[in-house]
């Protein structure tokens, strides 16, 4: 694997805007501009722009593209129509998950898959392995920038830059066209914050122009650049999975709460075994919890029941800027996974009370 740190197209722009840059998934990425908490609140209450250009994009084309996607992904991609996106995952053959991803149907014979930056090479090789009908695949990750404009004021800001009526683009739908003077832009009503807004895919050549236009258009609404730190706290408040933390090569999609994107209407990698697991029932489940005692759960901490028996492990944790308390996600043995079950988190030398909570947490 190439260990040299990659840079995104607007690397220098972020540095000029005061970003602290850190290595993430092989890319030098803005983690914070001013304060994680301020940035988090900006997205929850106003509007912020994330540069998440490290994400990977593959184009699959031709009459057999859908067959290949159906073969490797767990959700039923035959159910989406042109200009619709779908959350899905790539199950492996051993019961785990290669990656989670978004499938965009651009046309009947053209799809875009959006994958995690850390898995670009792994996913590419995985899909290629099943590509027995030679579906033309193109990895456009290095040519594309991706800006997530998120928050309750996101639509108002972006509307200034396009004639398309953005309120007509429903959740998980997208539009493909000219935006802020740039051609071939995808405006997708998706996101990883739960705050609403759009994700904008643009070629690197036009990335600066589009980014600058959004910053200028959002001045009135107080738009701010947001780092990966706040992206993580925002997604945790919603209980969204992060690959590498909450799901990985060993976690079952059913145990991860991804049953809703696991459709047995077709065959896919390991579908027989996953179906058997569904029928037999799982023994643990990924759930969210809120701290009752003062303390912050972190990845790897043990989860216990009130009797002090180990019943699970924390996979993600933070201080919720919205709630002002510790929150987390973790796998918990049944029946302790039920909402409102009192649990205990072993935080270093102490044991602190928490409660299993339904999603979202805010």
């Amino acid at each position: 694997m190439n260990t040299e740190l990659k840079t995104i197209a607007l690397n220098d722009t972020h540095i000029k805007m005061g970003a602290k840059m850190v290595p993430f998934a092989g890319y030098n990425m803005p983690v914070r501009y001013t304060s994680d908490i301020e940035e988090h609140n900006t997205v929850r209450n106003g509007v912020g722009i994330f540069d998440v250009s490290h994400m990977g994009e593959f184009i699959l084309e031709g009459p057999d593209a859908l067959d290949l996607i159906q073969r490797v992904t767990s959700n039923d991609a035959s159910k989406i129509v042109d200009n619709q996106a779908q959350y899905s995952c790539l199950p492996n053959e051993d019961g785990g998950v290669v990656d989670d991803l978004l499938v965009y149907r651009i046309s009947e014979s053209k799809y875009m898959l959006v994958v995690n930056a850390s898995n670009i090479e792994k996913d590419w090789n995985w899909i290629a392995k099943y590509n027995t009908k030679n579906v033309p695949m193109t990895n456009i990750s290095d040519d594309m920038s991706l800006f997530a404009v998120q928050g309750p004021k996101a639509t108002a800001v972006l509307q200034k830059l396009t004639d398309t009526n953005l309120s007509d683009i429903k959740f998980y739908r997208f539009d493909h066209g000219t935006f802020a003077g740039a051609k071939e832009v995808i405006l997708s009503a998706t996101g990883y914050t739960g705050a609403g807004g759009f994700e904008i895919y643009v070629n690197n050549k036009e990335a600066q122009k589009v980014f600058d236009a959004i910053i200028e258009a959002g001045a009135e609404e107080g738009i701010k650049p947001i780092g990966l730190g706040a992206r993580d706290t925002l997604r945790m408040e919603m209980g969204y999975c992060l690959y590498g933390n909450d799901i990985d090569d060993t976690t079952s999609p059913l145990e991860a709460g991804l049953g809703w994107i696991t459709k047995f209407t077709k065959e896919f990698t390991n579908s027989d075994n996953i179906k058997k697991q569904k029928e037999a029932g799982t023994t643990k489940r990924l759930v969210a919890f809120k701290m009752v005692d003062k303390g912050i759960p972190r990845q790897g901490y043990e989860i216990q029941n009130e009797a002090g028996e180990v019943i699970g492990k924390v996979t993600s944790g933070t201080m919720s800027p919205t709630l002002g308390i510790g929150i987390g996600l973790g796998y918990i043995d049944k029946p302790f996974d039920k909402s409102e079950t009192p649990i205990v988190i072993a935080i270093r030398n102490r044991v602190l009370k928490a409660l299993v909570h339904k999603l979202p947490l805010v």
Partner: protein
């Protein structure tokens, strides 16, 4: 970056203010910036006699937990109780109201091993 000349420093990004045998300890401007928003400071070693290098508490930012190390050997006399309710003071006033502990040195000669403001500036590349 603010690195007061009157203080001593460690490579663990702590500052030390010496007043006779009583010293006050906190973390530097650089440290609070690197950590980001500090949301929790836990120090439960009041009254304990600790050796240089021992952990006297932890500081948690949104994303990270960091141990706080004793820069010197001695007894923890006082902890900054204000930080329990207002941990963000460490971000806003790291050299003032954001102090962490006051301690009595076991041996004053230890002070010779600390860094000057100029030495510390070199370490953080200022």
């Amino acid at each position: 970056m603010n690195i007061p000349e009157t203080l001593k420093y460690t490579k663990d990004h702590e500052w030390i203010k010496v007043e006779g045998t009583t010293v006050t300890i906190g973390i530097t401007e650089f440290a609070q910036k690197e950590l980001g928003d500090i949301v929790y400071v836990e120090i439960e070693t009041e009254g304990e006699e600790l050796a240089s290098g021992d952990v006297f508490g932890t500081v948690e930012a949104v994303k990270t937990v960091s141990d706080l190390f004793m820069p010197l050997s001695g007894t923890v006399d006082e902890i900054n109780e204000k930080l329990e309710g207002e941990p963000e003071t460490v971000n806003s006033d790291p050299y003032g109201d954001g102090w962490m502990i006051k301690m009595t040195l076991s041996d004053a000669s230890q002070l010779e091993g600390l860094l000057s403001a100029a030495d510390y500036k070199d370490i953080i590349g200022e």
